[in-house]
Amino acid sequence: MTVSVQEVPGVGSEEPVHQEPTGFWRRYIFSVDHKMIGRQYLLLSAAMALVGGFLAYGLRWQLAFPDTWVPGLGFIGPETYNVLITMHGTTMVFFVAMPMLLGGFGNFLIPLMIGARDMAFPRLNMLSFWTIFTGSLVLLASYVVPGGAAAGGWTGYAPLSARPIYTGVNWGLNLWLLAHAIEFASFLMGGVNFLTTAMTMRAPGMTFFRLPLIVWQELTAAVVFLLSVGPLIAGAVMLLMDRIAGTSFFVPAGGGDPLLWQHLFWFFGHPEVYVVLLPAAGLACEVLPVFCRKPLFGYRWIVYSTFAAGILSFIVWAHHMFVSGMDPRLAMPFSITTILISVPFAIMVFAMIATLWGGSIRFATPMLFALGFLAMFICGGLTGIFNGSAPANIPLHGTYFIVAHFHYTLLSGVFFGGFAGLYFWFPKMFGRMLNERLGKVHFWLTLIAFNATFFPMHFLGLAGMVRRISNPLQYPSLEPLQAVNVFITLSAIGLILAQVPFAFNIVRSLRAGEPAPANPWEATTLEWSTASPPPHDNWGETAPAVYRWAYEYSSPDAGEDWLPQDRLLALKP
């Protein structure tokens, strides 16, 4: 391939959007800098992960040792147990996974990777963070209002959630709805910002098919979110009306229909899975070629697969409702679309595997986590085939098989994809290197504990253990399997403890880590061509121009095994 200077249309970011602030408040708290906002999102996500992890610990303890004193929590009755599962799900999906994978990485990476100086709407960006921050406070406040926090499951199925009498929770569930509304508002602002930035502020030469994959996947996630959340917002308004204004949208006694809530919820709920999953896959896609020193295999095919997954995600939602009482004639069409969605994800997985072929693979910590994501995601994807087939779903629906499946897909995205990204970009974000040895300890402990926790859940689910029960010993058929539950709980505690080396690593590195060079991994995308951490306006005097795609590793045209996107090669004679 001949590398040449190309005259390519680009938009360019012509002016520095704002001045570097000097005061503490403007710099660290009410910052409009996408890099600071990205880090704020990551911090919020980590704080909420502590809450969500603590809830997981409480509910797992109750399952292993029912009705015993939980160290740190006390006795957990069935009411509290329902609060734990509801708030665990809500916290992890909406206040950990999304702020981390979209708010954190999206904000930090998109402007840097497209060569912009900031987001299109920096003040809106700040507002989006402080909006979700408020949403988190509302969610936390719901624990302390009279009646306690929401206990209707993270899916909030009506009529259980539509009338306080059914759960005994009044204000807690209203605040839970309010926290969702605020969270959605925040990500609507974020999504608008992501899309506008990428559409209008790419550096000269940064054509759409030169964008790094993570940008594509963040953008697809943003579109999918923007276009799917509306009906659920409408549904949430209706549910709130049911709770406080006496309407009966979802209550049959007043002429409503509970199935409507499920349709509105899952019309958003399934696309939401890809809102979380696609950025996680994108992070792994960025890391793999760097540590294989090899171009990402089939870049365009992955982009097309991402689109296909995003589009298909709008017509699969009823697979969550095969046994809900919906028209059985809908089941097979939705079963077919659901199983079809395995094709784009298969292409992504095969492309990642093909990237490994013929590489020169370095096993640094980000690479280990990216490989971990790949392996765990394959497991989660394969168990999805069981759930997606309507008849096979009948015995599995609502059991621990489902719990295992979505932890293998979503949690693998957050843990393995997210940590791959964090270990990879930490030097860029904070200007310090992380300790590799601690990182590897963290990886292996996490990998083992993750599988020990979630793999046995498949067996429990097949054996008929249903979700959301607080005491398996109430079921004679589950008594012989209690040892499995104990094993899972111990593994889950191990999984939480496995994060200690990570926390220690972060603190240690921030205090006394080795200063990071601009491009410690010898990577090609634009963010590595500026300092670590980047200056306030990202690029200093001259913003970069782009001459090639994002994955030019081991190119025969260059002596080194990497060619940055913005490096201009002399024309060949």
């Binding site: 199925y157 009529p159 089941a331 590489g359 607080s470 109430q474």
Partner: protein, 223 residues
């Protein structure tokens, strides 16, 4: 893995188990193929001094075929699974054979109510009998049930029958099954229904024909 499933005691459970086995075999195959390839590549292509990685972008059709052809195979297998599944689904959810045995199942916080029509076979007559959490059925007879709920959504789950269906307030769902083996089996509620969800568990009692006659005689002695 399949041995974790509880014993199948229904006529259509075998179809579902066969489908689960089929999917299981296919997924196990792909699991070992993909993870095996990953392991193999990680070993073969680990970094070694002086060796440069291959420059393959995988965008030309000849290269992309390496990922597109396996994906096409996945597509064919998917359609095969759905083809097989359509029959099983139609069997479970489709036409219900005429039967003398009818029962109304109503979920409520936090019990299953079973309403038996009694010897006259009609609901709404004085010989109706309601039992909490006990579903008595004769073996080898089609059971035609009507499922609903009084308050919130419950889920009527018969693990051994491989049947599961939400009980919705305001709607009635017809279902059927045919048990093939006498015994006692659980009927857990599989949808979060409130603080008593855990432990909401009925019993399916499948009687031999003689036992069933005996049970009917005890319940409706005047007949």
């Amino acid at each position: 893995m399949m041995r974790w499933l509880p014993e199948n005691i229904s006529t259509y459970g075998g179809d579902i188990d066969a489908l689960l086995s089929l999917i299981y075999s296919l997924t196990v195959f792909w699991f070992f193929l993909t993870l095996g390839l990953i392991g193999l590549f990680l070993f073969l292509y680990r970094r070694r001094d002086g060796r440069r990685a291959a420059y393959v972008r995988g965008e030309r059709p000849a290269e992309a075929a390496w990922i597109l052809i396996p994906a096409a195979i996945v597509l064919v297998l998917d359609l095969w699974i759905d083809h097989r599944g359509a029959d099983a689904w139609a069997k479970v959810k489709g036409h219900i054979a005429p039967t003398a045995y009818r029962v109304r199942v109503t979920g409520k916080q936090f019990n299953w109510e079973f309403l038996y029509p009694g010897p006259d076979g009609k609901f709404g007559t004085p010989d109706d009998l309601q039992l909490d959490n006990e579903l008595h059925v004769p073996v080898n007879q089609v059971v035609h049930g009507t499922l609903t709920s009084k308050d919130v959504i419950h889920n009527f789950f018969l693990p051994n029958v491989r049947f599961k269906q939400d009980a919705l307030p305001g709607r009635e769902v017809e279902f059927w099954f045919q048990a093939t083996k006498p015994g006692k089996y659980e009927i857990p509620c599989a949808e979060l229904c409130g603080f008593g969800h855990s432990g909401m568990n009925g019993t399916l009692i499948v009687h031999t024909p003689e036992d069933y006659q005996q049970w009917v005689k005890e319940r409706w002695p005047s007949q």
